[in-house]
């Protein structure tokens, strides 16, 4: 029998992740709802003493994959020209305020490929370890790391002012 009080404690984080993925509050809560129902119906599969948080995020991720197919994503996806593309209208310069930076970040996040966005959010927002993230997504840790690096670098480029964005590969990459 699963500890529902412990499960309740994870709900705010599950809602946050769902909101970040779907952007629509009611769709996000529907996803959390599906996740909870599934978790409760499969609670006999949860091994007490193992990582409840990772288990719930795993269920949520799998539900999301189905969910996204079924309902489609929120309509605010920003079209991109290519890998090194910039947001329409260009990114906002830092001195124009944090609010606009956040708006840019939000749009840049939407422009990431699904698999990179999941890793960026699970690690950067939900503070899951690389190992936990690998477990949730059912991929090797190395895949988590490469998706994370690619996703974050792409976010950074999307948010750069266009004139500064034409530089070559980042220095560190060349060191390897």
């Amino acid at each position: 029998m699963i500890d529902t009080a412990a499960m309740a404690e994870q709900i705010p984080a599950l809602r946050r992740y769902a909101r970040a993925l779907l952007r629509d509050a009611s769709q996000a809560d529907d996803l959390v709802q599906d996740c909870l129902e599934r978790a409760l119906s499969r609670q006999h599969l949860f091994r007490p003493g193992t990582n409840l948080r990772a288990w719930l995020f795993t269920i949520m991720h799998n539900q999301f994959v189905n969910f996204a197919k079924r309902r489609g994503r929120a309509p605010d996806v920003v079209p991109l020209d290519d890998e090194g593309g910039h947001l329409p209208g260009g990114a906002v310069a830092p001195d124009q305020g944090g609010r606009l930076r956040l708006r840019d970040l939000s749009r840049a996040l939407d422009a990431l490929p699904e698999e990179q966005r999941a890793v960026v959010l699970l690690v950067g927002l939900e503070d899951l370890s690389y190992r936990e993230t690998a477990e949730v997504l059912d991929v090797p840790v190395g895949t988590v790391m490469s998706r994370l690096a690619r996703g974050r670098e792409r976010l950074r480029r999307l948010m750069e002012p266009p004139e500064a964005g034409s530089g070559g590969e980042p220095g560190l990459r060349g060191v390897k």
């Binding site: 009080a5 809602r15 946050r16 974050r152 976010l155 950074r156 220095g171």
Partner: protein
């Protein structure tokens, strides 16, 4: 890790995400010192991470929709053998409240027992708040050189500053009668809102922190207990603050300190409110 190994992109992210051991961190830091371009990129990644929290942490404080509450409540009694009455987790929560109230005597008892045990819509954000308070304790109570931003020698300034930022009159509760002296305090972000952390230390070098911010949500949360990685916390939400007391000390001492903290905040609020 060998010192001769070259660093890769992955090391930079692992450093940012706290995946490296002390040796690995030192290695990356040394490398960063000679590579300002990578340092700038790291700062950018760190900004994005903070930005994600700024964008989405507000969700943590939103009340739970009824549908989620019902799902969770239903999940606690799926089988025919379930006893009648409130779901198990609510009974457990109620028992925790009774325990806390009993331990503290009448001062908190009435407040704790008067309302129904609050629903998950109220308790889940409160539990998340307690987690953040414990997180802040873990990070700063371990600090040797910079445990606080403003030291106890500037207590007046500390109070004035934090009162201004939290938008409420606020003083560091006095815990000297329990053997804990004020070390100082700092300002922290809590889901997009300003929070204050006061740190205390006793003669054995044990530290406790008080973490508080303006209250959120609509309900009152009576005294609750949380434990995570050996850190214990009591927390509650009342007017005007959500407050948590965290320490690696035994539960009885922590409860006694909580009593002092609660009374200090109550008195201050009563005075300020007229």
């Amino acid at each position: 890790m060998s010192a001769a190994r070259t660093l890769g992109e992955g090391d930079l992210h692992a450093y940012l995400d706290g995946e490296l051991d002390a040796e690995g961190r030192a290695e990356v830091e040394a490398w960063l010192a000679g590579h300002p371009d990578a340092s700038a990129r790291l700062a950018g990644y760190r900004d994005h991470k903070a930005g994600l929290h700024a964008l989405f942490d507000g969700v943590l404080d939103e009340p739970l929709p009824d549908s989620l509450r019902r799902t969770l409540a239903a999940g606690t009694r799926p089988a025919a053998v379930s006893p009648p009455g409130p779901p198990a987790w609510r009974r457990a929560a109620a028992a925790a409240v009774l325990l806390a109230a009993g331990g503290l005597g009448g001062w908190f008892g009435q407040r704790a027992l008067a309302p129904e045990t609050p629903p998950a819509a109220v308790t889940a954000p409160a539990a998340a708040f307690a987690q953040r308070a414990i997180g802040a304790h873990v990070v700063y109570a371990a600090e040797v050189r910079h445990p606080v931003e403003v030291g106890a020698d500037e207590e007046k300034h500390l109070s004035a500053w934090l009162s201004k930022r939290l938008g409420r009159p606020l003083h560091a509760p006095a815990l000297t009668e329990a053997g804990f002296r004020l070390v100082g305090g700092r300002l922290l972000p809590d889901g997009g809102a300003p929070a204050a952390q006061f740190m205390y230390e006793n003669g054995d070098g044990q530290r406790v922190t008080v973490y508080l911010r303006q209250r959120f949500g609509t309900g009152t949360v009576a005294f609750r207990f949380a434990e995570h990685d050996g850190r214990r916390a009591f927390y509650w939400i009342d007017e005007p603050f959500a407050c948590a007391l965290i320490g690696d000390i035994d539960r009885d001492t922590l409860m006694k300190l909580s009593h002092l903290v609660y009374n200090a905040i109550e008195n201050r609020t009563a005075k300020a409110g007229g």
